[in-house]
Every structure is written in C-alpha cells, then in structure tokens.
C-alpha cells in the first residue's frame, strides 16, 4: 500500500515536471538572453568572468586592478562580476585579445542553456524580474505589491507591544513579582512589628506588675480612692503612660487580676481603673465604628463594673452584630441593679444557644442577689426568648414558676412545648401529666418522643394506654424504644405483659436492652 502511494506521488511529480517543460522567459534566442543580462544589475547567485586564451606558454597580460586576472596553463581568467550592465564596458578593452564570457551559477560554470534554465526557475519563483518590468512599476503596481509579503511597519514595531498575549503575561509576571516582593516585605515588617510588640508587652508587664502589686497589698481601698492626682500619675512612668499600648496592657492586666481575685481586691482594682483614667479608653472603644473595638469596650465595662456607662451599653442590645449584642446583654445582666430582663424580652434577633449559654451563666451568678423577672420573658414576641425563659425555669430549678408555664401550655409552639415538657420532667411536675399525654398524641415526631420520654417519669394509667397504642401503631424504632422504656418505668407488670403478648424479636431485643444494667443510660 505504502509502495503504491509512493509510486502515485512519484507519478504526480513527473507529470507536473513534464507539463512544466514550456519556456517561461520571452527570449527568442541566446542573443536576447545576453541582451537581458546586460540590463540586470544583479541576479541572485549568478556571476560572469572574462576569458582570454593564451597565445603561447609565455604570454603575459599586464596586471589590472579591475579584472584581477588569474593565469592558468592555457588562459587568463578574470575575477567574477555580478553586475550585468557592466558587460559591454568591461568587454570593450578586451575585444582585441579575443576574450569571451563564462557564465557561473552558484559559482559553477554553465553554458547559455544552463543559464536560461536557471533564470526560468528564478522567474517562476518571483526572484528574477525582467528589466522591462522593473522599468515600469507604476503601470503594474498591484502586481508588484502582490508579489511581496505584506508586513506593515513590522520593522518599526516592538514585538512585546505588538503581541497582546505576551504583553498580558509579562504584566502578570511583573505583578506577581511585585506581589511576592510586597508579601515578603510585609511578612518581614509584620514579624518585626509583632516581635517588637510582644517585647514591649513583656516589658510593660514588668513595669506594671511591681507598682500594681504594691498598691493592692500596701494600700487599702480608702487610701486608693483618696490618692491625689499627682500620686496617681506617679505610679507608672509618665513617658510610658502616654503610650496607648501601655494602657492596653494595663487594662488587660487589671481585668486579668480582677477575674482571679475576690473581695476587697476587686474593689481596689475597679477604683484604680477609674482613678487611672482608663475609663476614657473604654468610652473611646464604645464609640469606635469597629465591632471588635466596641466588644472590647463592653468587656471592659462588664469586668470593671462601669455602671456609669450603662446607657451606652443599652444602645447595643439590639445591635446587628452578634458579638456586640451578646456582650451588651451579658453586661446589662451583670450591671443592672434590677435584672428585669426587659432588654431580652424586646430582642429583635433570635437568641442563639451561645448567647443563652452566656446569659445562663450570668443569671445563675446574679440570680441569688438580684431580682429576676423571668415571667416577663414568657410574654416576649421573640420565640427564642420564650424558649430561653422556659429553660431558665428548668435550669434554675424555679418550681414556683410552673404555674406561669402552665398558662402558656396550649398557646405555645411545638418547640416551646418540647422545652416545657423537658422542664416539667426535670422539675417533677406531675400535675402536667394531661399536657404530656396530649403531646404524646402529637403528629410532630420530636414532640412525641420527648413527651413519651417524660411520661416514663410523670405519666399515669392513661399514659400507659397511649404508650401501648403508639407501640402498636408505630414502626419508628427509636420511638418504640422510648415507649417501652417509659412503659417499663411506669408499670413493670404492664411492660412485661405487653412484651409477652407482642413477642416480636424487636420487642424482646428492646426488653433485653432496657433491662441491661450497663445500658441504663442509653
């Protein structure tokens, strides 16, 4: 196949050669060709030489700088000339010496036919143009133009700017190099600054700890409050006290000590905080536009009991920022004389578990010393606040508020009902059994499960009936397990009877699990 293909290609090649025999140049004979040569200034790879045969072996020819004759055994041969227009003028002085012309193509001697063939090839490729055509370019300007490749102003153009893709890549490389350099510089500056800052903090802490300890242990609260401004300003070096970082370290140190210490020491620290004028920094923080600065200010108000800033704190309780409103709430709970929880009742945003956890900790702490108006929260329009109120009753063990909870039993949502049942269960509110029984019949699987679980502790004989009904109807394994567990808690006999009358392998397995002491918590 390959062979056939090669033969075919060869055939085509020979065909094209045979059809290309016809002469292309308009020269009738060799004289016309010579005439054309005399009109050409230069033909690529073409040259000619003059030849004078020797008359005798000792014949000489005078030295000539134009021809630069070279002597051979039989003749004298001139140097090679390229310019055809000089043929006549060069030949004129040599006529008497019976000189003739030799043609060379690629420095190889050729005859007139060889030269014709060469010129035809050159003519076909456009490398040889007839003198006649050259003389009249204005008549065939389009022809001339089309014979040349169009390269507009390429010679004057910068390649980088001409190639937009390469330009884009180069710009990006430069940008990367700039970015990388900036990043390394930033990294170095950042590291240096951080190291410097850490070093400063360490030094400032050393400067702070001595005078602060002396004050706390050597002076009592009254002495600190009665210290003059001059005495106060002499506690720390004045040059350092002007620095913001020093004050920040001082605040952190005082807050840190305040968290660890108790009794009079706490009061001393709080008095000192105010006497040192650090409250101004706290105020500035609260006025800042950055949420983290405001949060830092709120932490300072909270930790140092800055009651005078309570109005500023109140303005943040409904802040858009989660951290700001959480900290504002926590601060209000801590500082308000009367913890009426009204700010919580009016919360627009839902309370997250995180906020509830923080508030619960504070409420537990202040609950013993301050009045807590939990029922007000049950009237909030915000469901998450109402749920939190129910949790508070449970977690603070406020049995006295069960009646308040009872009032919202029916009006509450399913999520609130879940909290209510958990609370009744935790507080042992047997009087709410009817509510629990109703919830066991709910279509909400989560509410149903919680009610079933609570029925184990608070249920009655009707609860047993409901539990058995659920067991017959449901295929939900977890619910069945909860039902059987509750049934076994409520009435062992009923439980045993039920399992024996319903001898499904699943019931037997659940019975074994319920009765396994190692699985009592599962």
């Amino acid at each position: 196949m390959k062979r056939k293909l090669l033969l075919f290609i060869f055939f085509l090649a020979t065909l094209s050669l045979s059809f290309g025999q016809e002469g292309l140049l308009p020269f009738r004979d060799s004289a016309a060709l010579i005439q054309e040569l005399k009109l050409q200034e230069e033909i690529p790879s073409f040259s000619y030489k003059f030849f004078i045969p020797k008359v005798s072996k000792n014949s000489k020819i005078p030295g000539d700088s134009t021809f630069l004759w070279v002597e051979t055994d039989t003749a004298f041969i001139s140097k090679a000339f390229k310019n055809g227009t000089l043929i006549d003028s060069l030949y004129e002085p040599l006529k008497g010496d019976s000189a003739s012309i030799l043609f060379f193509v690629y420095e190889e001697k050729t005859n007139i036919n060889g030269l014709r063939s060469y010129l035809e090839t050159m003519y076909a490729t456009g490398d040889f143009v007839l003198a006649e055509d050259k003389e009249q370019p204005e008549n065939d300007i389009l022809l001339v133009a089309s014979s040349n490749n169009y390269q507009p102003l390429d010679a004057y153009k910068n390649r980088l700017l001409g190639d937009f893709k390469l330009l884009a890549v180069t710009l990006i490389i430069l940008f990367f190099i700039f970015s990388a350099a900036s990043m390394i510089i930033f990294m170095l500056i950042f590291k240096t600054q951080r190291n410097q800052r850490e070093e400063n903090i360490k030094n400032y802490e050393q400067e702070i700890i001595g005078p602060l300890t002396n004050l706390l242990f050597e002076k009592d609260l009254e002495e600190i409050s009665q210290m003059s401004n001059e005495e106060i300003s002499d506690i720390f070096p004045k040059s350092l006290f002007k620095k913001r970082l020093f004050k920040q370290v001082l605040i952190e140190r005082i807050i840190g000590l305040n968290k660890k210490m108790k009794g009079e020491f706490k009061d001393k620290l709080k008095t000192l905080y105010k006497r040192l004028g650090l409250v101004e920094l706290t105020k500035a923080n609260l006025k800042d536009s950055r949420w983290d600065k405001i949060s830092a200010g709120l932490v300072q108000v909270n930790e140092m009991d800055l009651g005078e800033l309570i109005n500023e704190v109140k303005s943040f309780t409904n802040s858009k920022n989660f951290y700001v409103r959480s900290l504002a709430g926590a601060t209000l709970l801590n500082l308000s004389e009367k913890v009426d929880l009204s700010f919580l009742k009016d919360q627009d945003y839902p309370l997250s578990d995180w906020q509830q956890m923080n508030y619960l900790r504070i409420i537990k702490f202040v609950g013993s010393s301050k009045f807590l108006n939990i029922p007000i929260l049950l009237k909030s329009k915000n469901q998450s606040v109402r749920e939190f109120a129910i949790k508070l009753v449970r977690m603070l063990g406020r049995v006295d508020l069960i009646a308040e909870l009872h009032m919202i039993n029916e009006a509450s949502t399913d999520d609130e009902k879940i909290e209510l049942i958990n609370t009744y269960d935790a507080l042992g509110a047997h009087m709410e059994v009817e509510f629990i029984n109703n919830c066991m019949l709910s279509t909400n699987p989560d509410l149903k499960k919680i009610a079933v679980k609570a029925a184990g502790n608070l249920g009655n004989s009707y609860s047993e009936v409901i539990l058995m009904d659920i067991l017959v109807q449901t295929i939900d394994f977890r619910l069945r397990r909860a039902c059987l567990t509750s049934l076994s808690k409520l009435n062992t006999e009923t439980f045993e009877k039920f399992v024996s009358t319903q001898p499904l392998p699943e019931n037997q397995a659940l019975k074994a699990q319920i009765q396994d002491p190692l699985l009592s918590n599962v």
Partner: protein
C-alpha cells in the same frame, strides 16, 4: 480545508488554555482575599469567646465521637484513652471495629474492661452485620461504646456508629488522629452561634504530626516532617485548610469536610441516609448530599470551618502510599461529582451548584487531564513549528510564580495565625519545598491524579493500606534519636 480546520483548532485550544491560565490566577487571588478576610474575622471573634462555659453548660449540645478502627491494634488503646480525656461535658466515644484482622478488639476489651451488652441494634442506616456492642463495667469508661462488626469499609463503619449514637452532634474522626483537649468546645461553637441559618456541619483543620513530639495525646513540639514528601504535605495542608476552606467558608460554598475530623448534625445525617458506602470519597459525598438536601428543602443553612489546629494526623511519606491516597482522593472526587451531577450549574442549588460544583469539576477533577492535554498541545506546537519559546517560557514562569505566591501566602497565614513552626530551619525547609514543588512534586501529583481517573474508568477501587510508624512521645523520640546517633 482540513489544514485550515487543524490550525483553527490549534488556535482554539490555545485560547482555551490562555483563558484557563488567567482564570486560575483570578480564582487564586480571590481565594487569597476571601480567606484573609475570613481569617481576620475568625481571629477577632475568637477574642471574645469564652470556651470554658461550654464544657459544663447544660445548653451545649452533646457530641458522639465516631471512630472506625481497622487493624489499629498498635495504637488503639492509647488513642481511645486520649479521646476519653477530652475536655467536654456531654460526649460519648463510639469505636467501631470494622472487622479488624489483628488484635484491635481484644486490646480494647482488655484495656477498658468491656463486656458485651444486650444492645438492640437497629439498622436505621443499613450496614454490614453487627456482631456485638460492648460497654465497660468500669464507670471511668462509661462514655465508651465499642461496636464489633463485619468489615464493610469506613463509611459502613461510620453508619453503624451513627445508628447507635445518642447525641445531637456527630464527630466523625480517624481513630489515629490526635485531638487537642479543647477540640470539641471549639468545633461545637459554630453550631451554637448561628441564629439565622442552621449550621449543618463544621470542618476542622488537620495538622501533620509526623516528626512532632506528642505528650499525653497532645502535640507538644512542632516540627516539619523529615522527608520531602512530608514537608510538601505541610504546605499542601496549609494551602487547603488555611486558604482554600477558609475562602469557601466565606461564601458558604464549602463542599468538603475532611473525613479525619468533621462534625455533623445527627438528625440531618439520618435524614439523608448517612454515609454512602460505595464511594471512597464518602466524606465529600456526605457534605454534598446534606447541602443538596437543604437546598432542595429551601432551608437556610451553613457549613462552617474552624482553622485552629485541633486535630493532628500522620501523613504518608512513602511515594507508593501517598500515590494510593491521592489516587483514592481523585476517585472519590470523581464519584461524588458524578453522583451529584444534577446540581452542576443549576441555579436552584445556589452557590453549591453555580460556583462550588463547577470549580471542583474543572480545577480539581479535570485538572490532571487538562494539564496532560496542555503538555500534548505543546508537543504538537513543537512538531508543526508553531511553537513560540518566549511565549511558552513566559507562561511557564507565570504559573510557577503563581504557585510560589499561593504557597508562600499559606505559610504566611500559618506564621501570622498560629506560628507553630517556630524553628527557623523548619521555615527554610518549607521555603525550599515551595520553590521545588512545581517542578519536582507536582508532576507526581499529576500522575497520581491521572491514575485515579484511569482507575475510575476501569472500575478499580479500594483504599489501599496506610503504613503508620506511630506517634512519638518526646521521650521515645529522644531514645530513637540517641540510637540513630549511636549507629552513626
């Protein structure tokens, strides 16, 4: 005509690669900016978080730690003890022995005084046969439950754990991971904070424990691994966790939570049917399925990420093992994307469908294919003589610089945020790896990715075996180093 078509095609492919290169650059710059913003916010928020409350608060959710174990006999007891000592109030540890062929179960039974209990196991999610459930008679280990089951793979083992878990949050981890004492408190926080959207899952950053000192289940001294491949993975993990996942979290587009350390809402995991055991990318597949469920139900949700180094694991330093791991990751990615191709470019699925899925499809799944075709394209250009050396070198240099920039940025992140690798020689080693990675390690990663594609096509599966040397305590390390010095 054909000639014209050929050159037209060549031009078209060239344009495709040019657009792709610029897209890569733009995307990585966006990732760098987004991750920087997220990291800044995270660190600011962290200043005001008091984690001590969570440990004892009754409001904090309970956590079920699920740790599948397969032939982990050498370290299982130490690892479980470490898990049981985590600082958290309400949690249980469920170890699932996934048909180990070694003495994993025996060691657990002996060390924790375990006894088979009459647990009524229910396959809420269908799993391989559960042979027994064990609880300890010793009250100190009351939080521990061990499940012994027939081998079914990691996803199947986790499903068995989910079936018996009791708490609201599932912490799915690798049993050989070292968890920081405060890992649960920190990972639980996003679940508790969010109010407007439901946090369905939280991912955690994973640190590389090779060559680090471990004392009582905590990393006490950080060092970069000794091998080049280990060091490369440090950079890779920084890039993935501190940059990539932080950026995706910023736009709520996170599609992958590492199987070694991920937290999920249990009720939702059950609703979507648990892990899919037929894929090797079960971690990614679960997150995508959960997200898809939330999008379909039109419930506002969020997938969070915690960048703190709370979990440490030993990474493979052997070329073959690492190759197998990467092969598996690639297959997992392909399988997940294939399974959920419905969401691709579908605006109904929000950011998941319009941004995350296409990104993963092009820049993760197709990356090795695109790269290898780029190489072939360059060869074709060379053969037909249409190859511009200056253009080629400029593009190559540009991509190399991008790689350098991104990797240095991730190390800068680590230094600014955590500064775990304090030793200057460690930093120098990492910088050296950054310089050689594109030339020395990336071609290997490319080949592993291609192998993953090939194995996916021919249906070759499996996990391969991870060879572990085990974590070293500071004392053990000293002994090993002393022995090494002697032998020298």
């Amino acid at each position: 005509m054909y000639n014209f078509l050929f050159y037209f095609l060549i031009e078209l492919v060239g344009l495709f690669y040019l657009i792709l290169s610029f897209s890569v650059i733009v995307i990585y710059f966006i990732i760098m900016i987004l991750s920087a913003l997220e990291m800044r916010d995270y660190r600011r928020k962290n200043r005001f978080a008091d984690y001590e409350d969570i440990i004892t608060s009754p409001i904090a959710p309970g956590v079920s730690i699920l740790a599948p174990a397969y032939n982990e006999g050498s370290n299982i007891v130490q690892n479980v003890k470490s898990l049981l000592s985590l600082h958290y109030g309400k949690f249980e540890v469920i170890i699932i022995n996934d048909g180990s062929k070694d003495d994993t179960l025996t060691k657990l039974l002996d060390a924790f005084e375990l006894q088979k209990v009459s647990y009524a196991y229910n396959s809420e999610i269908i799993t391989q046969e559960v042979k027994g459930v064990y609880k300890s008679q010793n009250k100190s280990y009351r939080r521990l439950t061990v499940i012994d089951k027939a081998n079914g793979g990691k996803a199947d083992a986790l499903n068995a754990g989910i079936n018996i878990s009791q708490m609201e949050i599932l912490a799915c981890i690798d049993v050989d991971c070292i968890l920081a004492n405060d890992s649960l408190t920190r990972m639980v926080r996003p679940f508790m904070e969010e109010t407007n959207r439901k946090v369905i899952a939280v991912g955690g950053a994973i640190g590389i424990a090779n060559n680090c000192d471990v004392q009582d289940g905590t990393v006490t001294k950080y060092r970069v691994p000794q091998s080049t491949l280990g060091q490369f993975q440090v950079i890779e993990y920084c890039r993935a966790f501190l940059m990539g996942r932080m950026a995706w979290t910023r736009i709520n587009g996170l599609m992958l939570i590492s199987g070694a350390f991920g937290f999920f809402r249990r009720d939702l995991v059950l609703k979507v049917g648990g892990y899919f055991p037929k894929t090797v990318g079960e971690d990614m597949e679960l997150v995508v399925r959960m997200r898809r469920y939330m999008e379909e139900k039109k419930i506002p949700y969020k997938v969070s990420f915690i960048p703190d180094p709370l979990c440490w694991t030993e990474v493979p330093e052997d070329v073959e093992v690492l190759g197998r791991q990467r092969n598996r990751w690639m297959r997992g990615t392909i399988e997940t994307l294939q399974l959920h191709r419905k969401i691709g470019l579908n605006p109904k699925f929000g950011i998941l469908g319009t941004i995350s899925y296409p990104f993963w499809s092009v820049f993760e799944k197709m990356a090795p294919i695109i790269e290898i075709f780029g190489l072939i394209y360059t060869l074709i250009l060379l053969i037909i003589g249409d190859f511009s050396a200056i253009y080629f070198l400029a593009l190559l240099f540009m991509i190399y610089l991008l790689s350098l920039l991104v990797s240095s940025f991730s190390i800068l992140y680590e230094q600014i945020s955590y500064n775990n690798y304090k030793n200057k020689s460690d930093l120098k080693k990492l910088i050296w790896i950054i310089l050689i990675e594109p030339l020395y390690i990336h071609p290997k990663v490319l080949l592993w990715g291609l192998k993953g594609h090939l194995d996916f096509i021919i249906g070759k599966g499996g996990w391969g075996q991870m060879i572990r040397t085990g974590f070293k305590t500071a004392e053990e390390r000293k002994t090993i180093e002393a022995q090494a010095e002697k032998s020298l």
